[in-house]
């Protein structure tokens, strides 16, 4: 939560938000906003909020960025509900203001349960039914909640209808398709995304990874590998490469029983992100596979201390540790990890 608050704070202070809509604000409004920003810079969020509240009371239509600043202050004061309300008020005044919508969606994504987010987005869409930002977010939420629902399909169709040339529309349609086991369709949609966003290396990395995964699901290993390699190439060109994307390739290679090649990718990932848990775990599994139990234990303990393992990976690390300690006849350590596993009440 603090990260998002800090992000909003950063964005609102460096002028990314700007005065983007509602016409040119008066000098008085400008002054008050400047004043609030200075207070925020000094982390005087309470005082900044007072300034902004006063501005809101005086102005019938305060500029959109006033709402963003206000929400930022409220977030930093742990007033999440009020921050959401601030955005909702801003969006009701500026129904076509994309920046407000984007911040609103970010806020919902990070601060409220997904079911509640769904309700909020439905309400916002009722007011702005053709908002791409809101439609996109609603589609993602619906895909996550029930990708097989009619509602998911309706939202995806609406996106395509409103923005047929938008790469995001095809990107999301591809998501819908793969979640509904229509991998061929997903790949076609993602190829359209690639064409429409050919200059975006991060998008290329994302989409090639997804294509690789879909090809793999279709048992087309060669095509999958081609896509994963392109993803890796795009990934490596980024200022900050994405370990999760490259890890897909590493896992693919394991499934192909190409363990050494997989390990090369794993080490490349760890070169970018030395604390990336899934890669540390994969390294541990490889060490166990190659009969280096002591080293496997060290790597697995390292992986467990990383913060980015998902529950399944955490379990895998405990399984590996229990088994490897047992092999080394370190019974107490083995039982400690087995006990952890039993305490989780596994029921996938």
């Amino acid at each position: 939560m603090l990260i998002l608050a800090a992000f909003l704070l950063g964005a609102s202070l460096v002028g990314e938000i700007g005065h983007q809509a509602g016409g040119a604000p008066s000098a008085e409004v400008e002054n008050q906003i400047d004043s609030a920003q200075k207070l925020m810079q000094a982390r005087e969020f309470g005082k900044a909020l007072e300034v902004l509240t006063a501005l809101m009371q005086r102005q019938q239509a305060p500029p959109p960025d006033a709402f963003i600043l206000m929400a930022t202050c409220q977030l930093n004061l742990d007033q999440t509900a009020k921050a959401i309300e601030a955005f909702e008020r801003g969006m009701s005044l500026y129904p076509k203001e994309q920046v407000l919508e984007e911040f609103y969606v970010t806020l919902l994504t990070n601060y409220i349960p997904i079911e509640q987010m769904k309700q909020k987005l439905e309400a916002a869409l009722a007011a702005s039914p053709r908002s791409l930002v809101l439609l996109r977010a609603a589609a993602f939420v619906q895909l996550r909640l029930d990708s097989r629902s009619e509602q998911a399909r309706r939202l995806v169709d609406a996106l395509l209808e409103i923005a047929p040339d938008n790469p995001n529309s095809h990107y999301i349609f591809g998501q819908w398709a793969v979640l509904n086991h229509q991998e061929e369709l997903a790949i076609r949609e993602w190829e359209k995304t690639l064409t429409l966003a050919s200059a975006d290396a991060r998008m290329q990395m994302d989409v090639y990874t997804l294509i690789g995964d879909a090809e793999n699901r279709l048992n087309r290993a060669e095509r999958a590998e081609t896509a994963f390699k392109k993803a890796l190439q795009a990934n490596a060109s980024l200022e900050k490469p994405n370990p999760a994307s490259a890890f897909f390739y590493a896992e693919f290679l394991v499934r192909q029983s190409r363990f050494e090649e997989s390990q090369t990718v794993v080490e490349q990932i760890l070169g970018w992100a030395p604390r990336y848990g899934p890669a540390l775990l994969q390294r541990a599994l490889h060490l166990a596979r190659t009969n280096k139990p002591e080293e496997a234990i060290v790597a697995a303990e390292n992986a467990l201390s990383a913060s980015d393992l998902n529950p399944e990976q955490i379990r895998a690390a405990h399984v590996l540790l229990a088994k490897t300690y047992f092999l080394l006849k370190r019974t107490a350590d083995a039982e400690r990890h087995q006990q952890w596993l039993k305490s989780q009440g596994v029921n996938d």
Binding site: Q98, A316, V346
Partner: protein, 574 residues
């Protein structure tokens, strides 16, 4: 306004969503596209099956009494038992069946369990009524074993509303002795549990076969929730139900059994049991038990040799697959796929799980699925039955799986077919398998909702055949017609003082070239099924056997030397 994709949160969310959501795909999914047929190995003739059920007179249709309500039991029935009930050295076929829902009435012949007597000419005669074997349960699996050592193989049927012990009278008929035997499947606290698989083993090596029964979910018509996917009623995910403990019955040697689930420690473990497999996995002289659990960690009951078992699946490395996931475990089989003398474990599972193959390395197992090439080949499949049998007689056991989805409306729900072809994976003798389904015969590739499967030599020609059931569909009897001319030997064990079936005996075959093959004699295999209990070795081009060592459960060791090949032989314990 929204023209270019941004590197912001939405896309990140999308990315994570896609990756995360894909790993959480629901329980009931099956592949959309038929798997590309495998290519036969250029080095030898293909494994080829001829399907003969119709002309052989095996007209059994597995009837689950399907309902619109979709009770979970409906999609789980189906098993195959291959056994010789009349001692003519010809394998007969027993096929458990469903019953009418909701009253479990079996009086309609469409619900009879069926016994087919082998006529010895590749035809069978339905002797169900004559043998009094139609049963009374909504049946799941069954197990053949001579529990009273009278020389006639008996049968135990695991079911939803009842389990049944059929005593073989030796005159072509059976008697239901369930009540008097005590092996009722009724748990002292929980009542009758939904049993899936039964298996015979002599866990205490006293010469009498004991009985292990896997139990699945705490289920009843009343507790089966209405489950829906995409607005359609569908079979529920097992997480909608609590698990149950398994049961082990000790044979008292007088026709009765004692429920020893608690004193052995086995009853302490609540799971969602499906297939079971037996082997002395650690060469300590007693039989260990593996239970394949559905979306729950597997169990490995290590036999401590003192009447107690210790659940050590995590330590053994078979509780979860390498990635830390449980699988929707279905069938299970212990067999030595790499001829290193240690029985390995194979499990069938469902779409996206892959079918795990755990290689036995002594004290533990390693997940060998990817290394065997099975991850990629099985990822898009769901299978119930399955196991290892040497179909090409090259001395290495091959893999077969009986494939079919769980949901009968999976096409509407997941755009994935309910009916699938079976799979056949040839053992490449280097730790890897190749998919040879495509060359196994057209009928082998017929898409059906396959369930149980068992292998055995139906016509005593030394080539292992296969029988597979399918839900509301035909039973397939696959005669092995592989034409590579490889040699073989088939051995029926007769124990005494060990159990008469010789279950648990460990065989080591020494080839003239010094190579070895190993086999542990158990019949229980796959999903609720029983294989031919006779021991089969494929011998490749070898024309003699240097030695055959048999370690009987009694502890006796018998060595036969310089045996001829291509024959069926009976070995009595000495």
């Amino acid at each position: 306004m929204d023209v270019k994709p941004k590197a912001g949160f939405l896309r990140t969310t999308a990315f994570l969503l896609a990756l995360g959501a894909l790993s959480m795909l629901v329980w009931a999914q099956t592949p959309k596209v038929a798997r590309a047929p495998g290519k036969p190995s250029p080095s030898s003739a293909p494994i080829l099956f001829q399907e003969i059920a119709s002309r052989a007179g095996v007209d059994f249709v597995l009837n689950n009494s399907v309902t619109a309500r979709k009770y979970s039991i409906e999609t789980m029935t189906g098993a195959v038992v291959l056994f010789d009930f009349n001692n003519d050295d010809l394998l007969d076929i027993y096929l458990p069946n469903g019953a009418r829902i909701p009253d479990f009435d079996k009086s309609d012949p469409v619900f009879f369990n069926r016994l087919y007597e082998n006529n010895g000419d590749e035809t069978f005669t339905d002797v169900t009524l004559k043998a009094r074997m139609q049963g009374k349960a909504y049946a799941m699996g069954a197990a053949a074993g001579d529990y009273d050592n009278d020389g006639f193989v008996d049968l135990y049927v695991a079911g939803v509303n009842a389990n049944q012990l059929f005593h073989n009278n030796g005159d072509g008929t059976f008697s239901d002795l369930t009540a008097s035997s005590g092996a009722t499947g009724i748990h002292p606290r929980l009542g009758k549990l939904w049993a899936i698989t039964a298996g015979w083993l002599d866990y205490d090596n006293d010469g009498w076969l004991d009985l292990f029964v896997s139990n699945y979910l705490t289920w009843s018509f009343d507790t089966n929730p209405l489950c829906q996917m995409k607005g359609l009623t569908a079979y529920c995910h097992p997480n909608k139900f609590k698990g149950t403990p398994n049961v082990v019955y000790r044979n008292n040697g007088d026709g009765t059994f004692t429920d020893v689930s608690e004193p052995t420690g086995i009853g302490d473990h609540v799971g969602k049991g499906m297939g079971i497999a037996f082997a002395d996995s650690d060469a300590d002289g007693d039989t260990d038990i593996f239970v394949s659990n559905d979306t729950f960690q597997n169990f490995f009951f290590d036999n401590k040799g003192n009447g107690m078992f210790s659940e050590e699946a995590v330590f053994k490395g078979v509780a979860y697959i390498e990635s830390g996931r449980t699988v929707a475990g279905m069938g299970a089989t212990f067999q030595d796929f790499d001829n290193d003398g240690r029985p390995d474990l194979f499990q069938t599972a469902m779409f996206n799980d892959t079918f795990p193959l755990y290689r036995n390395i002594g004290r533990q197992f390693v997940d060998h699925t990817s290394a065997a090439g099975l991850s990629a080949m099985t990822r898009r499949l769901t299978a119930y039955g399955g196991g290892l049998c040497d179909f090409d007689n090259d001395g290495y056991k091959d893999l077969y799986t009986a494939n079919g989805a769980i949901l009968d409306n999976s096409m509407e729900i997941d755009n994935l077919p309910f009916r699938m072809p079976n799979s056949l994976y040839r053992n490449l003798r280097n730790g890897r398998f190749e998919d040879v389904t495509g060359s196994a015969g057209k009928a082998y590739q017929a898409p059906l909702a396959h369930r149980g499967a068992a292998c055995g030599d139906l016509n005593n020609d030394g080539r292992m055949d296969l029988v597979v059931t399918s839900l509301n569909g035909p039973t397939q009897v696959f005669l092995n017609k592989s034409g590579n001319g490889n040699h073989w030997i088939l051995i029926r064990l007769v124990g005494g003082p060990s159990n008469r079936d010789g279950l648990g005996a460990q065989l080591r075959l020494v080839q003239p070239d010094g190579g070895e093959q190993h086999y542990q004699a158990f019949a229980t295999s796959g999903y609720g099924s029983s294989n031919d209990r006779r021991v089969h070795f494929g011998l490749g081009t070898m024309t003699s056997i240097k030695a055959l060592e048999i370690r009987w459960p009694s502890g006796r060791v018998q060595i036969l030397r310089d045996l001829p090949v291509d024959r069926f032989m009976v070995v009595k314990e000495e």
